[in-house]
């Protein structure tokens, strides 16, 4: 009798890339829904559009590179990249910006570097930064959170804005768009207003930007679920949010009129989404436990530095890309001590 031979281990494997990515997607759902709740249909349209573009670009690139299409498309990593991109851009982003951003992410940041597993930078963030730099105006056109908006866009109206660039009659961009809380603080601080004045506006909620607090809370829930399901480890989120809270807390204590509170920093921008879903991207991040702490802490500090003193109100994307560059070096210097490699410890 002949048998099939394989090498050990022979136990059926417990995980797959597809499963890991699927769980990341599940975890994104609550935050995404919350975001759509506050910012309207545009969020969902963006997600759908970005995911479609990502899948198409992925398939085309795989064919061009003569790689098997099915296993790679079904690994869902492109879906995750597209989805994250969609969450980073304003809800009424024109379709061609999404096309360019996601296309750039998949084609250049991912496949030109060798595809899944080989990209040194997080593709979604590369795509996002590319459009932020190229189309600065469009990228600041956020809507005010729904509870504050004068009107809510219907789905057809949303589609019309995104795909045809046509606002409903009687509206202009200036009338409907606003800044993100971080933007607003940065601009108004530049006009020498004090933080307590700025935050007195109804635009801000209890601890951070109205609406944003809730959105971030739901992303937090999804992130914690990922840790609980052992899809990600706690190291990066804890280090990143910890260092961001620490450094913002420090400056806030020094001068609360100029520096926003730690809670504001955690719950107003992309810190939580970044900490749990983007900085934890295994491919472009650090892989050793110690390295992940260093990596996360680096992202937190850089994000703060960019937000507080840099040219952009939001620093998470840039911080992640900067730390991506450091990841190989960090890994090199944080190798765990190999079992039995130091003089044996004595009993006790």
């Amino acid at each position: 009798m002949r048998f099939k031979t394989f090498t050990s281990p022979h136990m059926s494997p417990a995980r797959s890339v597809n499963r890991v990515m699927r769980q990341v997607l599940y975890a994104l759902v609550p935050g995404t829904v919350a975001m759509a709740w506050f910012f309207g249909w545009g969020v969902l349209v963006n997600v759908l559009l970005a995911v479609t573009v990502a899948l198409a670009a992925e398939a085309l690139m795989l064919m061009a590179r003569r790689r098997p299409v099915k296993p790679f498309v079904t690994d869902l990593s492109a879906v995750v990249a597209g989805w994250l991109f969609a969450l980073a851009v304003p809800p009424l982003t024109p379709w061609w910006i999404t096309l360019i951003g996601v296309g750039f992410a998949i084609v250049v940041a991912k496949h030109l570097y060798g595809g899944l597993g080989y990209n040194p930078f997080n593709p979604a963030m590369v795509g996002y930064v590319a459009v932020v730099i190229s189309f600065p105006r469009e990228m600041t056109l956020w809507l005010p959170p729904g509870t504050l908006a004068d009107m809510a866009f219907t789905l057809p109206q949303t589609l019309q804005v995104i795909f045809l660039g046509q606002l409903p009659p009687g509206l202009t961009w200036d009338m409907i768009t606003g800044a993100t809380p971080l933007d607003r603080i940065q601009t108004e601080l530049a006009m020498d207003r004090s933080l307590s004045d700025i935050q007195a506006s109804p635009f801000f909620g209890a601890v951070a930007g109205r609406g944003w607090e809730w959105i971030n809370l739901f992303f937090l829930l999804g992130g914690l679920w990922l840790i609980q399901r052992r899809v990600i480890t706690w190291h990066v989120p804890v280090a990143m949010l910890g260092s961001l809270a620490l450094i913002s807390g420090l400056f806030w204590l020094i001068n609360p009129e100029v520096y926003a509170s730690p809670l504001f920093h955690l719950f107003s921008g992309a810190a939580i989404l970044g900490a749990f879903f983007i900085a934890t991207d295994p491919v472009s991040g650090s892989t050793t436990p110690m390295g992940r702490l260093v990596f996360g802490a680096g992202v937190g500090i850089l994000a703060y530095v960019i937000r507080a003193w840099g040219g952009y109100a939001e620093g998470v994307a840039f911080a992640i890309l900067l730390m991506n560059m450091m990841a190989p070096t960090i890994d090199h210097y944080t190798q765990p001590r190999v079992f039995g490699k130091t003089p044996a410890r004595k009993e006790g």
């Binding site: 394989f6 050990s8 436990p289 079992f339």
Partner: protein, 544 residues
Amino acid sequence: MTSTPHKLWRFNGGLKLPDHKAESTQETVFKAPLAEYLTLPLRQHIGEMAQPVVKAGDKVYKGQIIARCDTYVGAHIHAPTSGRVRGIEEHPVPHPSGLTAPCVVIEVDGDEDWGEHRMPPIEDLQNLDPARLRHRVREGGLVGMGGAAFPSAVKLNPRPQQAIDTLVVNGAECEPYITCDDMLMRTRADAVIQGLLLVKRTLQPRQCLIGIEDNKPEALRAMTEALGGEENDNIRIVALPSIYPAGGERQLIRVLTGREVPSEGLPADVGVVCHNVGTLANIYRAVIRGEPLISRIVTVTGSGVKRPRNLRVPFGTPISHLVAHAGGYSDDVERLIMGGPMMGFALASDQVPIVKGTNCILAARGEEVDPPGPVMPCIRCGECVRVCPANLLPQQLYWFTRARDFDKAQDYSLFDCIECGCCAHVCPSNIPLVQFYRFAKNEIWSQEREKQEADAARVRHEMRQERLAREKREKAERMNRKKQALNDKPAEDKAADTGNDPKKAAIQAALERAQAKKAAQGADTTPPDQGKPPSDTRTQEKTR
């Protein structure tokens, strides 16, 4: 009886696996009937191959030595039963490559006749001296029963500078499916304890720790009963949490004592000797009953056999014979594994024999061991890092191995990998990581071997050059002498003729000088350093 619980330490990583132990522990150990032929490979342990001392046609008795291995790391092979030697033949042996190797094939006569070959039981146990015990273990061909098959006598002989204070007994049996140690402890706990007492007398450790995973409550109970309590006479039974690979020697020592065996060292370096429960029972058998190692308990299990159970089998029994006594294969059996599902290797055929190191035969159906899906690129998720009990960075090892950068792989401690398979099991990209590490290790070994062969070839070349030069020199000398002899006579004549012409004499002298110089030059081409004799390099290779 119970005192404070024993403190346990942790090792990094490891896995909680479905243990699949229940399948094969429904029935007690069954003594398998003899097969028609027994096929005994000459190499069944780590170390040198044994040399056969029988030939085709010889009658052999049960327990008779049929192949000797007298090197320090070696174990004899005994006839598992009586019969006639059919021959010493190449036969497929249990090896991942499906290789054949020389085996003694015995045609079984069914008499189970020991003849004069049972070793005399040692009676005066109280005064059993260490050398005598070691000798008995060596004569009995005992090797470790945990799978690696390391000759047991060596472990009873620590060097004087290694003060052994702890004897660790491995009853962990952490691989899923395997239950032969479990069943042994359940049924022969007293043999294990008696064997332990013998070893304890020899090594004089301060403490003995018996580690058993807590998924074997019956074994724990039986052992406790045999010991007369959880702790007795500095021997202690410790229930361990079931975390694969807690039964790895280094991991077990860590868990029980907190000590880390140095990367390039042995347990003895931290004052520990570790024996498997099966080995202890065999030591007891060898001393009390005078039986050499000729059979063992093997777990035959998996959904691919109809009646999973543990069988006591003589070595050399073909696996097919064993499977027949485990109810035969189920219809859709796909894979046959020798050893456990994590570290065992898949066999292409069931026509290979059970050897000393065989603890388990796992016949699996498709759904039990799903052939892994397509291999995807490493996404650097670090799952492998999280579970690696050796604290390695498996994804980096994989990366370097793929790039054939073996130096880097060694820098990242490739040789500390115990091939436990944890990393591959959790890898979401389905990468057969362990296969890559084995490949890398083999490449490095073969590169080293090639280098040694190249060195040997260089030495051979130099030897040849020297020989050629010497031959040339000798030839020149011979020619010289002949010429001299020829020259001498005419010279005398000429001298007489020419009346001592000084010019001619000078020319003659110059010619002779030139010739001598030439000859000397010929000799000079001999390399000044004659290199090592080849026999040297051979011994070097041997001692490696």
